[in-house]
Every structure is written in structure tokens, then in C-alpha cells.
């Protein structure tokens, strides 16, 4: 996508002498977005392009008896109707959501794609799809993940085999003893134990033991732009896909395997992503590519909001049983948990990160955590910003509050006493690198919201709640290229989709290394045929990994210029520096060669220098977990159950905020989503497994008037490997909301909330008023 580079000046130099990083910079893509110029996948048209309308399964679980497409095919303007029988050959993997385009025997969830109609007119396609005569024989639908674990439960589906977990690994790196479903067929897709010490002894030692069950609803990422994909397969065997994705290279690799096409003959272009939040990794591309291969014409598939809510990859319902023990002095003595994540009809639920976080915030010698990923006949789940984290955090952070209250301890002091720091153990036995959980707690203590606690809590029906959150982050190798142009400007090319302003951070990093104004640097995301490799923009790792590659590429380019300048400047590279868009001799800035001169000398006819191209390529081995502490100020209407938020504060460790404006935006955005999950968001199914609210009226996201001002405090505990000490930023902010609000409500009206969303009705019932 072409982007305009706006001239922008740095606002100054910070305490560390930085001129570009650490500055508050507006986004490279900002002007195009706010003026409506940005081109999204749905804006793109190809000659001869066909539109797709999909037939979605009308049952949660049913045998396909027959599919008669004659009437649909007969509609004037219909180009083709494609069912499982009409698909081109592909490497089908029935146990994977993205390994199976259309089922031929059995549908496993309400909304599963069964067939597609193609037409040049999208309205014709929509009309014809209703004429497909599909006969189903309903089978027992398994909808409750907890009941589905019972031995006598009906099975959701055939036993799993060859489960591909590569997508999950993109979001978080967890080393563990996870076991896939084996032995007797069951609905448990996988399970994992995390054990340390002796929990029985730990509980015996405790002065109080709290045991509760916590439930959090299935929620949807609710990006503004639903899934949107165009594919084209030409007669020479080249496959091109333009798609709204966070993961172009991942899709390339998957499609190469699916169709047996070499990776160098597939071009995936990540179009501008109108919101992804983990939900735009790989979903519709296989089907659209197969349709394009089948009809040899470009095929476009744009999900409607309803399609997307029925048939994308929302975030799971979780049922979490937690038992904790604490001594009177606030020492956590034992933690036992059973976490059940509802994965829907295919594996992929983020159970592992939930286990890692429920036992990962506080030091505890005795833990016994078991996670289960359970199949049901619902749409299968995917990632949503820190997948699995808010569910587990709601449980442990509510417990911490209950225990503080019972023991008469200050909730913040008690958390500080137990909070993990560098060298402490994670549930899987690894140790934490430098992290900023304690620093976040200290910072939130200084927020306006927390400081008015006494005053607020003296007001009837008002309360303040606190919770921490965190995310471990993903790791993947990354690369970048920086090219010097003849006029001395620089082009950076990366392969990572820019979903959060990462290209703007890369611009800052390049400008910092080469000591040039920001407008000298342009950054583009290339497609998979032109860009150097980058992992998926997921797991909060893009600036942390690709940013390092960009920094290395800029340093490489600088070094090349230094070496080329040796003859003319008559000094060694160690005695050179970059400043004022030139390479100059330290202490003698008039002995210099401008970037422009390097540009000309490396590109003109007969020029003496080779083309100057900086290359950065890194392996990422060390995680840089990001933590947050958040405080909510709420008021409860004790007669209606309505909750009003008067304020919200978030402190988050960014390691080093390369663009504080962008970091604050991430903090506010994630906090808003956490608040949404706490109070409104819930996908609701009826007893037959049909989604009741596939729209944004009855699936409620908070609006501007529902959200309070969100106070942001950036904490900076540098990471070891990240560029300039930056660590993961995108995800932690969503994690603490449900617990912080649940704790605030308890503080306001003395009613503990065990289920999110906390609807007015649930709240009133918990208060015994209904």
C-alpha cells in the first residue's frame, strides 16, 4: 500500500540523548486513515472478479444428507456454486479449522461454511445462496465445555489427529508438557499440568483458604473491518492473495503446503488491517484461494458483520476453579487451579497462557495448575489480544482481593509483597527475565484514581478496584532492509503487517540510528515476494523483534557508509559519526560526506560505490514479558444494577516507549476492551447452539459515552534484547479489566462478581435484589 510520508519534526532530545525514539510521533498512516484515503481489501477490484456468498451451517452438529445446488446454479448471473465435491485438490486436514474448507459429511458448528456461490454481482450471489437445498440430519450438540469433559458425554466430533498448533505459537512462547488428546476418544483436545511444591502442605500452612469458580464469556474481537480477502490464480501457476491479515508469511507457508505451490510463487499482500486484535491471522484465505483456483478468476470474499460473528474465530468461554491459601501476613502459600477453556469444534484455545498467568503473577512455593482445552459444537476460537489471559486473571486477581479483604490487608501492599520479579519462577519452571510488575503496582499507587480511593469509598455505591495483568509475548526471527536513495533519503522495507503503528516506530528507530529527521525515512510493508521475512504481527512482538532487525539494518547501512568514506575522509570508521544527514569526522564536522553524496556515488552512471543497502536479520530467543496494573472507579445504581465508570487508570511497563503516543494509545485501547469484556461483551447461544446475537446491537461494545477518561502511566523497565530496551506493548492492557472492575464493584456495593460480563441483571441478582 502506498503511504504518504508527512514532514514531521522531532520534538527534542530526551535525557538519554535520543532525538527520534522516545518522541511522541503521529502515525505514518494516520492522515490517510482519518481522511478516508486508505485502501482496504474491500476497496479493491480486479478485472473479471467474482463475489462470494457462503452457505453457513444452520445446525451446531448435523450430518449432511444432501446438497442440491441446481436451483442456485440456475439463477441468472451465478457463475458457479462450489461445494466440497467441487473443490480443487488440497492437503485437507480435518482436525484443523484452517485445514478444512467445506465439510462433506458432518457440520460441527452453527455457521460453519458448507458451500459458496460465485457471481459478478454480490447481490445475485447472496440471493442464490438461499436457493441451495441442503438437507441435514441433526446430531446431539455438545455445548457446555464442563459437561463435555464427562466420560459419558456425546462426542463433538471424530477423534483429532495431526493437530497443527503453529498459529497459537505465534502469540506466545510457552515451554511445557502439553499432551494432545490420546487414548479413549474424548472431547478434551489437550491438557497440561504445572506443578511445584506440595499444595496440600501449602493449604495446611494457610490462615485462610478461598475456593471459588469463575466464568468469563465467549467474546469477539469486533474489529471494525470484518474479514476481507481477494485471491487470484493465473494460468502460469502463480497464486496472489490480498487479504486483511496480521500474518502474510504464515498464510504463504500454509497455502504453499495446502496446494503444493512453491513459496516463491505465492504473493500474499497484507492489506491495511481495519482492526485485528489477534483474530486476523489465517482464516478465509484457504477457501478464497481454492475458489480462485477452481474458477480461474479473481475471487473476493467480504464477510458481513453477521458472517464474521458466526464464522470467524472469537475468544473462548472459560470456566476456572481456583483455590488459594494465604497466611495472615499476606504470604501466598498455595495455589491450585483447574482451567477449562472452551475451544469450540476445533483445537486452538489459549489454555497454556491462562495457566502460565494464573500462577505467574505472584511468588508461591506450592502450585498445582491443570489446564484443559475442551471441544464443543460451537465456532472454534482464536486469539484475542493476550489470548486466554483475561479469563485467568479475572480469577486470580479477584481472589487476591477477597483474601486481602478477609485478612484486612491493603490490596496494593499485599500484591506488592507477593509480586514476581526478575529471577522468580514461572509455573513451567523457567525464570523471569527483568520485568516491571512491581514497578507498575508502585506507579498505579500514584495514579489519580488510586489516590482518591479513601474519598471515593466513603461515597455510597462508589468503589475503586485494582488488578494486575500481563502477557509473556511471542518470539520469532525477523529481518529488515534499509536502502539509501540518491537524494539521501531512506527506504525501509519490512515484512510485518502494521496493525498498531509499528512502521512509525521503525521510522523512529532508523532516524535515531542514522541521526536524521523523521521525514528522511519512509517505511513500507512489502508483500511476501518482495519483503524480507517477518513473523506474524501477533504476540506483541513486532517492535520487539522486527524493530531490532530494523535497528541492525540501519546500523549496517551506517557502517557501510563509514567504510566507503575511509579513503575520502582519511580516518578510520571509529572516528566517524552521523549527524546533519552526513558522515563526518568526530570533532571536525566540516570534514564530511553528505548522505546525498553517498546516494549519488552509489547509484549514478559510472558511479564508484556499490549500492548501499543495510541488512538486519535477528533471531529472538529471550521473551520480554509486559505487565500492567490498573484501577477502576465505579458507581453502582443499587436499584437498577447499572454500573457507571467515573475513572480508570492504567500503568504498564513498556521497557522503553519508542513512541509514547502510540504506547498510550495501545494502553487506552486495550483497557477499553478489558472494560468491554467486564461489563458488556458476550456471545450468547441458545440451547441448540445457535448464536443469538450476531450483530453489534446485541453484542455490545462500549461506546465513547460508556468509557471514562483513561489515565495512562508508562513504566520503563528496560528489556535485555529489545531495541533501546523496548519490550512487548500491545497486549497486556486488555488483561486486567474484568478483575479491576469486579473488585471495584465489590468495593462499591459488597457484592462479589464471579462471572463476566457483569450485566446489570447479574449484578442485581448477586445483591439479592432480584
Amino acid at each position: 500500500m502506498a503511504q504518504e510520508t508527512k514532514v514531521r519534526e522531532s520534538t527534542g532530545t530526551d535525557a538519554n540523548g535520543h532525538t527520534a525514539v522516545g518522541q511522541r510521533v503521529t502515525r505514518l498512516d494516520g492522515a490517510a486513515k482519518v481522511t478516508g484515503k486508505t485502501v482496504y481489501a474491500d476497496d479493491m477490484k480486479m478485472p473479471g472478479m467474482l463475489h462470494t456468498s457462503v452457505l453457513y451451517a444452520p445446525h451446531a452438529h448435523a450430518r449432511i444428507k444432501s446438497l442440491d445446488t441446481a436451483k442456485a446454479r440456475a439463477v441468472p448471473g451465478v457463475h458457479a456454486v462450489i461445494t466440497a465435491a467441487d473443490l480443487p485438490d488440497y492437503n485437507r486436514k480435518d482436525s484443523n479449522r484452517t485445514g478444512l474448507i467445506f465439510p462433506d459429511k458432518e457440520v460441527l458448528f452453527f455457521g460453519q461454511p458448507v458451500a459458496a456461490v460465485l457471481s459478478e454481482d454480490p447481490h445475485v450471489a447472496a440471493e442464490a445462496v438461499e436457493l441451495i437445498e441442503a438437507e441435514f440430519e441433526p446430531l446431539p450438540a455438545v455445548l457446555d465445555a464442563v459437561a463435555a469433559m464427562e466420560k459419558d458425554s456425546p462426542l463433538v466430533r471424530d477423534p483429532l489427529h495431526d493437530v497443527d498448533r503453529s498459529e497459537e505459537r505465534g502469540h506466545v512462547s510457552v515451554e511445557t508438557k502439553e499432551t494432545e488428546q490420546e487414548g479413549e476418544p474424548s472431547n478434551i483436545a489437550s491438557s497440561a499440568p504445572f506443578e511445584r511444591g506440595d499444595v496440600a502442605a501449602g493449604f495446611a500452612e494457610a490462615d485462610i483458604v478461598i475456593e471459588r469458580t469463575w466464568r468469563s464469556a465467549m467474546v469477539h474481537q469486533s474489529y471494525i473491518e470484518p474479514h476481507a480477502t481477494i485471491a487470484d490464480y493465473d494460468i502460469s501457476g502463480e497464486l496472489s492473495v490480498w487479504t486483511s491479515t496480521q500474518a502474510p508469511f504464515y498464510i504463504r507457508d500454509e497455502l504453499a503446503q495446502a496446494f503444493g505451490i512453491p513459496e516463491n510463487r505465492i504473493r500474499i499482500t497484507a492489506t491495511e488491517v481495519g482492526g485485528g486484535f489477534g483474530g486476523k491471522i489465517y482464516l478465509t484465505e484457504l477457501m478464497v484461494a481454492a475458489l480462485a483456483i477452481a474458477v480461474k478468476r479473481p475471487v473476493k470474499y467480504i464477510m458481513s458483520r453477521k458472517d464474521d460473528m458466526l464464522a470467524a474465530t472469537p475468544a473462548p468461554f472459560a470456566h476456572i476453579e481456583l483455590k488459594t491459601g494465604m497466611k495472615r501476613d499476606g504470604t501466598l502459600t498455595a495455589l491450585q487451579a483447574r482451567l477449562i477453556y472452551d475451544s469450540g469444534a476445533f483445537p486452538g484455545a489459549p489454555m497454556l497462557p491462562g495457566c502460565m498467568l494464573i500462577g505467574g503473577y505472584y511468588r508461591c512455593d506450592n502450585i498445582d495448575i491443570k489446564g484443559y482445552e475442551v471441544l464443543t459444537n460451537k465456532v472454534s476460537v482464536g486469539a484475542l489480544r493476550a489470548p486466554g489471559a483475561h479469563n485467568a486473571t479475572f480469577a486470580i486477581e479477584s481472589h487476591m482481593d477477597i483474601m486481602a479483604k478477609e485478612l484486612g490487608l491493603d490490596p496494593l501492599e499485599m500484591r506488592l509483597k507477593n509480586a514476581v520479579a526478575e529471577g522468580d519462577l514461572m509455573p513451567n519452571g523457567q525464570t523471569y527475565p527483568a520485568i516491571g510488575l512491581r514497578e507498575c503496582l508502585e506507579a498505579i499507587a500514584d495514579s489519580d484514581v488510586w489516590r482518591r480511593r479513601r474519598e471515593v469509598e466513603a461515597t455510597p455505591n462508589r468503589g475503586i478496584g485494582l488488578a494486575v495483568g500481563g502477557w509473556l509475548g511471542g518470539l520469532q526471527p525477523a529481518s529488515a532492509i534499509v536502502c539509501l536513495n540518491p537524494d539521501g533519503t531512506l527506504n525501509v522495507t519490512v515484512g510485518s503487517a502494521d496493525i498498531t503503528g509499528t512502521n512509525t516506530s521503525f521510522q523512529q528507530i532508523t532516524a535515531e540510528v542514522l541521526n536524521v529527521p523523521l521525514d528522511m525515512v519512509n517505511v513500507e510493508t512489502g508483500d511476501t515476494k518482495t519483503a524480507p521475512y517477518a513473523g506474524m504481527s501477533a504476540g506483541s512482538k513486532t517492535v520487539y523483534t522486527v524493530g531490532r532487525a530494523v535497528k541492525a539494518a540501519a546500523e549496517d547501512l551506517k557502517q557501510q557508509m563509514f567504510e566507503l568514506a575511509m579513503k575520502r575522509l582519511e580516518v578510520e570508521p571509529e572516528d566517524m559519526e552521523v549527524a546533519n544527514c552526513q558522515v563526518q569526522v568526530k570533532g571536525a564536522p566540516d570534514r564530511a560526506m553528505t548522505f546525498k553524496r553517498f546516494g549519488k556515488l552509489s547509484t549514478n552512471f559510472g558511479a564508484p560505490f556499490p549500492v548501499i543497502v543495510g541488512r538486519g536479520s535477528i533471531a529472538a530467543r529471550k521473551t520480554a514479558p509486559g505487565f500492567t496494573a490498573q484501577a477502576a472507579d465505579v458507581e453502582v445504581d443499587p436499584d437498577t444494577g447499572d454500573v457507571t465508570l467515573h475513572g480508570y487508570a492504567i500503568a504498564q511497563d513498556a521497557g522503553f516507549a519508542i513512541n509514547p503516543l502510540s504506547v498510550e494509545g495501545q494502553m487506552q485501547g486495550g483497557a477499553s476492551q478489558g472494560i468491554g469484556i467486564a461489563l458488556w461483551e458476550e456471545m450468547r447461544y441458545d440451547e441448540d447452539g445457535r448464536l443469538l446475537n450476531p450483530n453489534l446491537l446485541d453484542y455490545r461494545l462500549p461506546t465513547s459515552r460508556d468509557l471514562p477518561p483513561i489515565e495512562t502511566i508508562i513504566v520503563e523497565v528496560p528489556s535485555e534484547e529489545g531495541p533501546f530496551g523496548a519490550r512487548i506493548v500491545g497486549e497486556p492492557s486488555i488483561v486486567a479489566g474484568p478483575a479491576a472492575i469486579g473488585n471495584a464493584i465489590d468495593s462499591a456495593v459488597g457484592a462479589r462478581q464471579h462471572e463476566v460480563p457483569i450485566t446489570p441483571e447479574r449484578l442485581l441478582r448477586s445483591m439479592g435484589k432480584l
Binding site: H123, T640, D642, W680, R684, L697, D698, R700, P760, K769
Partner: protein, 293 residues
């Protein structure tokens, strides 16, 4: 969306004859904020229309006028914004301004019409409880001329009205509220905007000193149609405007309601809200009545 014929008449008579010609296969289009969404989602309560008769160019349907003798006339084509911002509506019919002022977003309010809100006949329509407490009358035009119906008789069920397929709602007429009248509308929604009433309550009280001379209580989203809470009104009539009276009336209003459990709320919760909101609104209306007396 499927194909349909589109007609754009300029007068009410033309519109009515187009409807008559179509013999039931046409739908009038006002702001489109309900109809177009229903057509896109194939969720119409009626057969998918073969013809759309746009009322956009029918200027006779526009306008909001008030006079001390005739009261308020609102053209069915007046938008929510026209109604909610009209000075006379705000001053004399505050409950209606409140109802029209909460429909959807600002963009919705600029498109949606009061006639559309009434004719869509959703049990939760925000303008209807206010129209009920102001004793509005619906002026209906059909092939055989005009007829007038009390608004309470206009609704027959969810999405169903007294209109024949070749009739149009032309205007709403509201008498001048008596001196000493205070009224208010409120709805409960999970969100603070962009939402649909879980319960809507409108009340109007006319006070003489401290005594209630005249009372109206109307409820939305708690029955197949918006309805007047008759036993609540009876509990108020002639009584002192006191907290006790309001509590009794609120209890009666909850008894008058027949809510269902659906995705938005349970019947229990709705009934509970009717009671809480009616008591609160009666106190508010009494305050307003005293302010105007």
C-alpha cells in the same frame, strides 16, 4: 439486498395511490433506519417488498408546528432531530423530546422519522410511550380520505399497526398539556447510547396544589405493544403527589406490564425496572409539574 422497484412520489395522494396499485407488495420508506436494515438482513416481518415508495420528496409530511389553540402537529416525516430540538416540544412536551432524543446515534436521529418509529411498531419504540402520555392522535390517509385514531389504538402487535397496506400515517396531533403538567421519559439500556430500550417509561402528571389531577403512565418494551399502565394511572388519580403514592403506582405499573424474557433481559428484571423507573420518573414529573405551575 434483492432487487425492488423504487418510486418517489411528491404528494401524499400520489404515495397512497402507488401503495394501492401495489396491492400489498409495497412498503413506504421514510428514514430507512429500520426498513433498510431489515431488508439487508432479510428480517422483515412482512413479505420482502417488491416496490419501495420513498416518502423523501413528500413535503406535506414534514414539519413540526405548535399553537396554543391547536396544540402540536408533527408531520410523520419529521426526523427525530426535528422533534427533539424543536423549542415548543422541548418546552411543552419534554417527555417526547427525551424519547426522540435517544434513538440510535446522532446520524440515526438525522434520518429516522417519528412516523417511521411509530409505524415500525417495535414494542421498544422510544417516541411511543411519550405520545401515549400526551394523548396523541394519529392522522391516517388512505384512498378513501383521512381518519383519526387515538395513538393507543394504533398498535396491534410487534410490527403490526392499524394501517391498511394502502394507508399512510400523515401526522400526529398532541393537545396542549394542561397548566401544571410535568412529564418525563426514560429508558433503561445496557449502554449509554446506541441501544434499544430494555424498558421505557413515560409519565405525565397534572398537579393542582399537591393533588394529582390527571395522570398518565406508559410503558415500552414490556408487552407486545407499548401500553398505558391503567392501574398505575388509577393509583395516582386524585391522590397526593407523595413518595407513597408513587411507590404504589410503580408497583401497579409493574403489575400492568407483561414482559417477556429475551436476549436483552429477563421478564423479572424488566418488571423490576418498571417499578424502579416508574417511581423515579413520577418524582421527576412532579418536580417538573411544580416548576411549571
Amino acid at each position: 439486498m434483492r432487487t425492488f422497484e423504487y418510486k418517489a412520489p411528491e404528494t401524499i395522494d400520489e404515495a397512497v395511490s402507488l401503495l394501492k396499485e401495489a396491492g400489498g407488495s409495497a412498503r413506504p420508506l421514510a428514514g430507512g433506519t429500520d426498513l433498510v436494515v431489515q431488508m439487508k438482513e432479510r428480517a422483515t416481518r412482512f413479505p420482502y417488498p417488491a416496490t419501495i415508495v420513498s416518502l423523501d420528496r413528500v413535503s406535506e409530511l414534514r414539519g413540526v408546528d405548535f399553537s396554543e389553540t391547536d396544540g402540536l402537529r408533527i408531520g410523520a416525516g419529521a426526523t427525530m432531530t426535528d422533534v427533539a430540538t424543536h423549542p415548543a416540544v422541548r418546552e411543552r412536551y419534554a417527555a417526547l423530546a427525551e424519547g426522540a432524543g435517544v434513538v440510535g446515534s446522532l446520524q440515526t436521529m438525522n434520518m429516522a422519522t417519528i412516523g417511521g418509529n411509530v409505524c415500525n411498531a417495535a414494542p421498544s419504540a422510544d417516541t411511543v410511550p411519550p405520545l401515549l402520555v400526551y394523548d396523541a392522535k394519529a392522522v391516517i390517509v388512505g384512498p378513501n380520505g383521512r381518519r383519526t385514531l387515538p395513538i393507543a389504538e394504533f398498535f396491534r402487535g410487534p410490527g403490526e399497526t392499524a394501517l391498511e397496506s394502502d394507508e399512510l400515517l400523515a401526522e400526529l396531533r398532541l393537545p396542549v398539556p394542561a397548566t401544571g403538567t410535568g412529564a418525563a421519559y426514560q429508558r433503561n439500556t445496557p449502554r449509554k447510547q446506541m441501544d434499544i430500550a430494555v424498558v421505557g417509561v413515560a409519565v405525565a402528571l397534572t398537579l393542582s396544589g399537591d393533588a394529582i389531577e390527571h395522570a398518565r403512565v406508559a410503558l415500552g418494551a414490556v408487552a407486545p405493544t407499548p401500553l398505558r399502565a391503567m392501574s398505575a394511572e388509577a393509583a395516582l388519580q386524585g391522590q397526593p403527589a407523595s413518595e407513597e403514592t408513587f411507590a404504589k403506582a410503580a408497583e401497579a405499573a409493574a403489575q400492568d406490564s407483561t414482559p417477556i424474557t429475551d436476549i436483552r433481559a429477563s421478564a423479572d428484571y424488566r418488571r423490576h425496572l418498571v417499578k424502579v423507573m416508574t417511581a423515579r420518573l413520577l418524582a421527576e414529573a412532579a418536580n417538573r409539574a411544580k416548576g411549571t405551575a
